[in-house]
Symmetry: C2
Subunit: 226 residues, 2 copies
Amino acid sequence: MNLDALFSLNCGMYIISSGYNGKYNGMIINALVQVTAFPNQIIASVNKESLTLEYIKKSGLYNISVLDKDAPLQLIGLFGFQTGKKIDKFSKSQFILGKNKIPIVTDHTVSYVETKVVSKLDAGTHVLFLSEVLESEFLTKEEPMTYNYYRDVKGGKVPRTAATFHPEEADKAEIERHRCTVCGYIYDSRYGDPDSGIDCGVLFKDLPEDWVCPICGAGKDKFVKI
Amino acid sequence: MNLDALFSLNCGMYIISSGYNGKYNGMIINALVQVTAFPNQIIASVNKESLTLEYIKKSGLYNISVLDKDAPLQLIGLFGFQTGKKIDKFSKSQFILGKNKIPIVTDHTVSYVETKVVSKLDAGTHVLFLSEVLESEFLTKEEPMTYNYYRDVKGGKVPRTAATFHPEEADKAEIERHRCTVCGYIYDSRYGDPDSGIDCGVLFKDLPEDWVCPICGAGKDKFVKI
């Protein structure tokens, strides 16, 4: 058994968003795929602990933003590593409202899909929402980010709630890492912080004193070695 | 509404295989994604008209071969455009038996996943099978083929049973095409037949007289203009 082989199953990087009663939330997901063409239907796997799931259950609606290759870790961090139970993610990002009145994040978004849920399946830690496509449009001509690109090139940490989190992978990365005590972001010296101009291989102690957490903006003093 | 935007939802190219009572079948699918990590579960969308679906329903087991970028149209044609109701696909391809006694195609296979079905969801034309990963291994270090690579670079025709078949896409391609009356393969002069050394732009009438259908081997005389 080599769980790394599961990384050869291709997937993308998306923000799934929903809302209910004037409140909005969204989160990063990668477990999403089109499953039928007549009609066009997609399925999305949403963690049971997420606020987004609560809104999808109540409204029966969700939208998808397909992130582009240049989407910064800050955006991925906001929607992937923070919970809407504590902050209003949509106050910190660009969005439009779809025809279904559900928000669509437009920051670094190649295209979007508006959907309405038609049925669901319990998958243990996640619920799978089968939904019909109501609308789909391109916003830019950029290339979509794949999950493997995010993992390999952007050096992103995989949130524990992600469908593709592999404990083995996390174990391998337990070297020279520092965690932000504010938002949980992990600085891994092997990857650096390319979005802030920090090359791979730069040790935490050698980061500039004015370097801040690329996700929440906390200073170096808010980091602990792990 | 621009249905092409649905192509920005990333997916791969897989052969899903199953078997029952000593009989095997398999088919190309692209609608497959990992949906949970505790335990590792995947979901696959399988057309209701397929023999593979019958075997999955009876055995509760299926395996996945992740195709590499160089997988030839012949292999994709065998598993994607022909039905196991008429031919024995496994007599024409390399395979091994998994620990679950279900075959795994090994031709141009980067990695494979063995699974057992835990639940299913009706999606109209397709059934979605949620299954737990029993085994996963790499066979080579080649790069997996994505569906968009297959579509753009290999110039493959999308079978009508595929989850991502878009009528608009097919309409755009209705120029200078010839269909094999034996297997249904379509020669499109805009794409040529790279696996047989035929460049893009070669008209059907200019193909060598000994050129044969890359999928079933039928001669030029078995083709009709469409």
